[in-house]
Symmetry: C4
Subunit: 279 residues, 4 copies
Amino acid sequence: MKEHKVHSGWKNTLHEIIYEADTPLGKIFDITLFVLIILSVLLVMLESVDEIDEKYHSSLLVLEWVITGFFTLEYIARIISIRKPWKYIFSFFGIIDFISTIPLYLSYILAGSQVLIAFRAFRLLRIFRILKLVKYIGEASQLQSALKASRAKIGVFIYVVLILSVIMGTVMYLIESDEAGFTSIPRSIYWTIVTLTTVGYGDIAPETNLGQFFATVIMILGYGIIAVPTGIVTVEFSKFGKEKKGDNLVHTNTQACPGCGVEGHRDDATHCYNCGEPL
Amino acid sequence: MKEHKVHSGWKNTLHEIIYEADTPLGKIFDITLFVLIILSVLLVMLESVDEIDEKYHSSLLVLEWVITGFFTLEYIARIISIRKPWKYIFSFFGIIDFISTIPLYLSYILAGSQVLIAFRAFRLLRIFRILKLVKYIGEASQLQSALKASRAKIGVFIYVVLILSVIMGTVMYLIESDEAGFTSIPRSIYWTIVTLTTVGYGDIAPETNLGQFFATVIMILGYGIIAVPTGIVTVEFSKFGKEKKGDNLVHTNTQACPGCGVEGHRDDATHCYNCGEPL
Amino acid sequence: MKEHKVHSGWKNTLHEIIYEADTPLGKIFDITLFVLIILSVLLVMLESVDEIDEKYHSSLLVLEWVITGFFTLEYIARIISIRKPWKYIFSFFGIIDFISTIPLYLSYILAGSQVLIAFRAFRLLRIFRILKLVKYIGEASQLQSALKASRAKIGVFIYVVLILSVIMGTVMYLIESDEAGFTSIPRSIYWTIVTLTTVGYGDIAPETNLGQFFATVIMILGYGIIAVPTGIVTVEFSKFGKEKKGDNLVHTNTQACPGCGVEGHRDDATHCYNCGEPL
Amino acid sequence: MKEHKVHSGWKNTLHEIIYEADTPLGKIFDITLFVLIILSVLLVMLESVDEIDEKYHSSLLVLEWVITGFFTLEYIARIISIRKPWKYIFSFFGIIDFISTIPLYLSYILAGSQVLIAFRAFRLLRIFRILKLVKYIGEASQLQSALKASRAKIGVFIYVVLILSVIMGTVMYLIESDEAGFTSIPRSIYWTIVTLTTVGYGDIAPETNLGQFFATVIMILGYGIIAVPTGIVTVEFSKFGKEKKGDNLVHTNTQACPGCGVEGHRDDATHCYNCGEPL
């Protein structure tokens, strides 16, 4: 790394701890982060339960401050320790990290805003960063590939399901009365999808004989249709298992480039595939 | 094309724009049509919502007139630009196009008729014409082939499911009382299918111990039965993937014969496979 | 056939018409029977609908008499035209035929008996005899073989599901109160199966936080468990497709032995595989 | 067995009867045990039904005493007949056996405790011991292997489903009001899982247009997601079927080592694979 403009030593160490999971300290950092994210999401959940919020409001607020503090420090550390901070700030995880940090600060400016809860829920997306840990098993990426390969087929499938839903929803709207819950075509389409996917809440249900007969047709159709995505995914999975025999090395490199922050380097990579920076 | 009786120039151009998607103008036409169809379906939906209809009735009516106008022009253009208009008029899409166009005109003759809404919903079927666009992906036709191949097996399957439903529905009618909702055998059969397909509305539910035990049996049966169509379709999909390796060229020719209007020509076709007309 | 004790001519003809579907008359007989069975089942259904029964009671009764008359004649003809009548009478279809015929006669002895409706519903089972027609497609038997092959695995699967249901049902009974619908362990088990199979009526639903958490676990479990029978059946289907390539001739012989009445003879059979009687 | 320190004769016989299923007496013992376990579980169920408990309380108590007596004797016999009793006592089945036996005794010390019912439900777990009988079919272990092989993939899958549920549950909490049942984020997550798994109770259901639209998205997502575990398990099943062709001998040895009590010996084993004791 000598021939490149290197970070100062502590910045390098910080980068290794925060962005990689190879060193003991890096692992401890990742696990701490994982626990704090889970905790912060649990906090959001608990606050939404009225009885708990009434009793423990102040304790929950203190905990929220602790977590926000840690997230703030982490966010600053991430910006400092990377060479090209703007690339991080405007990356997917950079934005998620920012959104995860600010809700508490914002709550003093925009008091009582419900939307802040949604902001805090975004924290959960941060867990996907820790998916690096899961990748070690090498299964996640395999699932991902199979799903990506069958994306086009599933797209066509959903397209057909949606058109069917609109047509059948309209027909049901004409057959059934308002009393049964079919008050408008959008609601009828909602009911059709509830039925076609075999969810079946029962908040809207056909009451006339013709409506019930037609509902029966939709159900059996949905019963058969459910076979299609399953078939697609299964075949894709089995293909994947066969083809990739030689190439089955899943790269579990957890390093992020100190220059541009991209991940997913090969296990034997010595330079970033994106900017050429040495790793 | 010289040796054939050709259309006059503008008719030829019109034909290319309307029936094909190879030229830039043809693509623009298809996309405009796509947007208008979606819009016309959205209009039908919005009108069915009472609150929206009350507020914006006149605006919606104007939009409906605009769309009907475009559809009328398009329908006339389609008839003019094709060599054998009657073939188009009585083709599947010809009838769909006609039905999609007339509801507004009819509403002045048959005032207040609910059935007109259904007519307008038929417009959605027109989207399938734009499926030509989807065909480019080449996935739709593959799905179709697999489903066609397993049609016979799925037919037998549905036959068995229906017989099971009738028998079990009758038994449940005898076990359960009217209060639980099992007021007649048809309703009991409706309930059985709701249960067998794992939809489960809960508008009708067994209340006696014997009825609940029997319902349990039906559920576990349905749970197992759902495996059958899935198995059939999956095997058919995997067969298809293997057999068609050599023949996997999906023909994405979007031209329609100027003579008879049929589609689905080979990519390298120079004459219609149906009437011999040059393309 | 000369060297055997043959039926008299008209008996032979009757046997061919009733028991086989190879001759034109045999086919007409089968189709008539099929229509009458469907009609008789529809009659049972319609009678159970109070409004219809009140209006058309006498018409329905007349139709019921006509069908019972035909079934009686057919039953007698079946006994006469077969060599060993007792074998037919005590065979599966013999008993079904008898049960299908007597309800109306019995109704004059055991007036008002609800059980007679069940007897009449048994008529539907007779349709399975006409499945001979479906067999021509050769798909039904293929499905049957695959299901038979995976019977043992599905048995083990259902065993595990049932034990899981009992354990989880008991736990839910302890967690949830009577008010939520969990009034006894059998009802809790009923609820567990409703949930595990993803039917989900909603007549019983957990109300406490712990109960809802536990329900969530059961649902995700059920979501995963549904994969097992599907996997089993799919693999069995795909095996079947490969193994049977050579032996894929499905025997579509619809003849029944004039001696003992068994069916399922090979296409090239000249003697009954069961009693040696010539066909 | 001469060269080893052997049990006295009756202990050996007792061991064979209780721990093995090869001898006629051993089989009778296993079947008796099976019936008693089922009976004891049925007792727990029946006692929970108020009407039955009121009528037959004393009869049920007597039966409970009989079963507890048998279980007590069996538990003592198991301890006596094994060489290393402590290994049995602290083994999985040893603890289950103990817990299954004590509830009635405990009920005189801790009167009226509900938790005892749960203890008694544990008896059902004992049936898994009799699964030795099922193993004869050799299917259970095959299913187990396939599920074990796809465990990691299913783990990743459930992880993704849970994160999706938390995010979507939070969003629905923000969209829907308390009146519709979305009173807190945990309840919203509960609803999301109910929807995603296509269970659909209907105790909580979206009422606003936006909420219903979003619910529709979740349903179609759930519809597609259900394909994933099915695909995983199917591929694993089909792999298993191919690989294990040579090794397909499922060991059906039901003997348990008289020394340490472990099971699962090879069919041709003469010594325990765990402690070297002759079998």
